[in-house]
């Protein structure tokens, strides 16, 4: 596990600064996108796609915080998306539709769930941890499907987006976009601070060599649990936003496949750089959105029927792509940006 990530700033300063350009460029692109969206004509579509990208960016980054910096492979992180989403949905269905109530409740629920399941899961190591987080995520999924009063399997539609201090500011897709960007920027800045802090240093040290950390007097469990709770709360926030974006919550928010996709996003972007996770989320969602069309276009030499069939089954390309990334592109997209191309 020691070779899991390379996060330490490389001694050569030129490389370090080059990587710092990436987040600046990334956020600039998100800030400029609404203008381009207006020009493109398909404004609603572009905005909603990019809003989703940012929301999943928050979730993936939250996961990166424990996966990339703590080597904790949580396979149940979608549960927190669900917790956030259902906090919004359930409160709204009881007439409490202000985000100033919903978000704190969602964060508290996520923190509590992370604290309890984390305390049990972190008593175990390695592969047990993976399976147990997976199982706890699944537990919440089944709970959601059996909540008949809140839509059960089918989920529930929100009456409207949340209010903020009584005002329906989120109604406009533009405002909602900016709020999401603000949340993304806020959680990014927060995560960057955490990673560089005393706390973050202990977390990174534990990832590299837990025994050594114990031998100098740290108890890794406490740090890992705290990181797990922080990560769970950030993902819970993403869940609140996701429910508002879709104006809908359902158990599908927290299937274990969704948890797997979150890990995929983090690894695709490159573990342990935070903005890599955002890039990974963007790459994943854009690929998911456009792969059918790409396949359709790329198979121009085949008959129309086969092309349609291929585009319909685009997921068959997605799986092998994931395997290829794992086998041949360990550093993810950030890894490719960081090191000069070979040969």
């Amino acid at each position: 596990m020691t070779e899991l990530v390379q996060t330490e700033p490389s001694p050569a300063p030129s490389l370090g600064t080059r990587v710092e350009i990436v987040p600046i460029f990334l956020f600039a692109a998100f800030a400029a996108a609404p203008l381009l969206a207006t020009v493109s004509g398909a404004e609603g579509y572009v905005l909603s796609l990019l809003t989703r990208v940012m929301i999943f960016g928050i979730a993936a980054m939250a996961l990166d915080l424990i996966l990339g910096y703590g080597a904790l492979v949580s396979f149940g992180h979608a549960a927190f998306l669900g917790l956030g989403g259902y906090a919004v949905g359930i409160l709204a269905s009881h007439g409490i539709d202000d985000a100033l109530v919903q978000v704190p409740v969602a964060l508290a629920a996520s923190a509590l769930f992370a604290l309890v399941t984390g305390a049990i899961s972190l008593r175990t190591k390695g592969v047990y941890f993976i399976m147990i987080t997976l199982a706890f995520g699944q537990m919440l999924y089944f709970l959601a499907t059996s909540l008949a009063a809140y839509g059960g399997d089918d989920g529930m539609t929100l009456p409207s987006r949340s209010l903020v201090a009584g005002f329906s500011v989120l109604k406009s897709d533009f405002t909602f976009y900016w709020i999401c960007l603000l949340c993304l920027l806020g959680t990014y800045a927060f995560s960057r601070a955490v990673v560089a802090s005393r706390f973050g240093r202990v977390l990174r040290g534990t990832r590299d060599n837990a025994t050594r950390m114990e031998a100098i007097g740290f108890r890794p469990f406490r740090f890992q649990l705290t990181a797990y709770v922080i990560s769970g709360m950030m993902t819970g926030l993403a869940g609140c936003l996701l429910a508002n974006q879709a104006e809908f919550v359902s158990p599908a928010f927290m299937t274990w496949q969704r948890s797997g996709e979150l890990i995929f996003m983090v690894v695709l972007g490159g573990l342990g750089s935070l903005h890599g996770a955002i890039i990974g989320a963007a790459a994943f969602l854009l690929l998911e959105e456009f792969l059918p069309e790409i396949l359709h276009a790329a198979s121009f030499f085949l008959s129309d029927e086969v092309r349609d069939h291929l585009a319909e089954n685009w997921k068959m390309v997605f799986g092998p792509l994931l395997i290829l990334v794992v086998l041949f592109a360990r550093g993810g997209i950030m890894g490719l940006l960081r090191r000069p191309r070979h040969g």
């Binding site: 059996s146 274990w256 797997g260 799986g319 994931l322």
Partner: protein, 306 residues
């Protein structure tokens, strides 16, 4: 009345538990021997079910279909091993999780590609159709009894295989100390292949057996995979005995919980609340059970000594 219902549900739980065992056995061996976490084990169960569906449509006989499906499932497992898994043995768990997750995405879509998204059904074999009276006035489907019997037979065979054969000895030794086994000059690569193919075949067998009583559809292996994980985590990773007991426990807790949780809660809650809470809690029971077991025994009930 309740006693008969209890009995029937206990049989259902036993049958479900044995199916879980067939899947968990392969998973726990693959993990125990190779330190390899294989998410794609659930799709191998699905592939077993699809194979039997396809072969029984082709031959018109469940028996022939099963006979054809088993070696095909084995071959398929070996093929996956050669193409993907082999390259992942010396990677960390995260890589294994992701790559095998990729296989799930591919195969779930793959069966849709080949057989369509609509569920397939497999007729219950003529010989085993119908029900028998197992107690006065209590009918139980013969086929489900056949699954129980098959599950028990496989469990006994597996027990003999692991405990009384050379390869079983290697597997047990490998589960507790893989380095030692390779130091003894055993071809670890081949041992891995055998264990892997065998595990895939067991999962395929489970899928084939349930095909007549469940609908065969894409994604059918996904949820049962998680249950198999719960089973091997409770049983202790690498332990066949642990997997067997935990599978039966989970099968019973899940089946009985679903049918009796609302009734039991009625003792403390009013009926409406009891039925609602009961239905919400029942599917969570096994996870709560798992959490409780792990809280007291972080390496499961039968930890394999390492």
């Amino acid at each position: 009345m309740t006693a008969t219902l209890l009995f029937v549900q206990a049989l259902n739980g036993l049958q479900f538990g044995l199916i879980l065992f067939l899947i968990a056995a392969g998973l726990t061996l693959v993990f125990g021997v190779m330190d390899f976490i294989n998410l794609a084990h659930g799709v191998q169960y699905m592939v077993g079910a699809y194979l039997v569906a396809a072969f029984s449509a082709w031959t018109g006989s469940f028996g022939w279909a099963l006979l054809l499906a088993l070696p095909t499932a084995l071959a398929f497992g070996l093929l996956l091993e050669a193409i993907v898994f082999r390259h992942l043995y010396d990677r960390d768990h995260l890589d294994q999780v992701l790559a095998t997750f990729g296989i799930i995405l591919f195969l779930n879509q793959g069966v849709k590609f080949v057989w369509g998204a609509a569920p397939l059904s497999v007729p219950v074999p003529e010989l085993l159709s119908g029900s028998v009276e197992i107690a006065s006035g209590l009918l139980y489907p013969v086929y489900r009894l056949a699954i129980i019997a098959a599950g028990l037979v496989v469990a006994i065979l597996l027990y003999g295989l692991v405990n009384h054969t050379r390869i079983g000895m290697l597997v047990r030794a490998g589960a507790s100390n893989a380095a030692m086994v390779s130091a003894l000059g055993v071809n670890i690569q081949r041992l891995f292949m055998v264990v892997f193919g065998f595990g895939a075949m067991l999962a395929g067998f489970a899928g084939a057996m349930v095909a007549p009583i469940l609908s065969v559809e894409p994604g059918m292996g996904d949820n049962i995979l998680i249950l198999a994980f719960v089973v091997i985590v409770i049983g202790g990773i690498g332990s066949i005995r642990g997997a067997f007991l935990a599978a039966l426990l989970i099968g019973l807790v899940d089946t009985l919980g679903r049918s009796f949780a609302p009734n039991l809660l009625r003792l403390v809650l009013d009926p409406a609340a009891a039925s609602q809470t009961g239905r919400a809690i029942a599917p969570m029971l096994i996870y709560i059970f798992m959490a409780a077991v792990l809280f007291f025994r972080p390496s499961g009930l039968f930890p394999v000594k390492r």
